[in-house]
Symmetry: C2
Subunit: 208 residues, 2 copies
DNA sequence: TAGATTGTTAATCGATTAACAATC
DNA sequence: TAGATTGTTAATCGATTAACAATC
């Protein structure tokens, strides 16, 4: 079954909500209940859950909460680990190394890379930081599939080229520029400037 | 003229690219050139630029690059500052306090809030960290409009309620849960789990 | 049973893309 | 002039919402 990016973005939100509901003792969950809690439409919730789940819900009761949780986790691939590296160990890069939430979705940060002697050779939360010159070797040696890119803007494309040449499969890009890569490398962007632009505009046009 | 969220998200990307092109000496810019560099369609670029700019482009040459830069910056409100606070001064919160890029889009971080005695009273990059109990007072005193929410998930809704009661206008939410607020408060989410879900799925279905 | 919730099919809405005449 | 780029108007595409019969 086809799934859109928008749907994919919603699944972790469903999951987080369902986990908290299970914690508070709930055994079944209905689409209207989820929709109401998360400000979605109930039709949307129903369609979304149909994407990840083979089983049907039951009229009047809804779905087994453990089943839905399991289905979403499997669909998102949370059951198996993906090895990743942090490229650019500045303030944000360090924070991401320390961020424990990644474990929940199967993201395993195995090392960092940086060009500065200040951090190369150091360990952050047991994660070793290597020189950028070791990029190609370590990516192969440690079976790294995903690079989390947190470099300064002006070197981001250069470093990206190095990553692609080293055989990286996906780049999670926190740098606010567009990266050019060839088609077989996947790029997904977290652009804080884009997000803030939306917030700012909503604030400015509020009450119009 | 109406503008969609998707368009808003693209403007900072255009801007970043245009600034780098200006730095390298370019005086005019055409839609096909932008489209090609950023992997958008040229029709889309043209439509987007029409949203922010009163002036027309010129056939065969395009648009004055300084004019476009100025128009986007004005449209996004980068010319005036927005006062913001960081709520939750953990690893990620501290990194955001240190992040210099916010200045570029007019975001002025005036203080932090936390509940832990380890950080309350300290200064990070000249930004003072106050106790969560001072939230209401300081938001009024320092004219804070936007809260950048970076707390643990389990307290995020509680803290949000406090922020709303204190009269905050907008919440930039980095916590991976859905926040319930009343209609006159604006919430914009940065959800790393959602973003990673998209990356993971693209990796999994690559080459299908 | 009655009614809440289900899944499916059709209608609506909005954004992107295509087509094309105008123009520097 | 010729041709690249422009802005506009129409067509397409995809996602969300509405409608409704089925069912526990």
């Amino acid at each position: 079954m086809k799934v859109s990016e928008r749907q994919l973005e919603r699944f972790p939100i469903y999951l987080k909500y369902l986990l908290s509901m299970r914690d508070s003792g709930l055994l079944t969950i209905s689409s209207p209940m989820i929709a109401n809690a998360l400000s979605f439409s109930e039709e949307q919730v129903r369609k979304d859950l149909q994407v990840v789940s083979m089983n049907n819900g039951k009229p009047k009761t809804g779905r087994d909460i453990n089943e839905v949780i399991h289905d979403i986790q499997c669909f998102l691939g949370y059951d198996k680990y993906t090895n990743a590296c942090i490229v650019g160990v500045g303030h944000l890069g360090s924070a991401l190394i320390n961020y424990q939430g990644f474990r929940d979705f199967g993201l395993n940060i195995v090392c960092g890379f940086d060009s500065s002697n200040k951090v190369v050779g150091s360990k952050i939360n047991d994660v070793e930081v290597f020189s950028i010159y070791q990029l190609a070797n370590k990516i192969e040696e440690l079976h790294i599939e995903v690079a989390i890119l947190v470099t300064p803007s002006n070197v981001a494309q250069d470093v990206t080229n190095k990553l692609v040449n080293a055989g990286i499969k996906g780049i999670w890009n926190f740098v606010p520029i567009h990266l050019n890569v060839n088609n077989d490398v996947v790029v997904e962007n977290i652009n804080m400037a884009s997000s803030f632009a939306v917030l700012q505009h909503k604030l400015k046009t509020k009450g119009e």
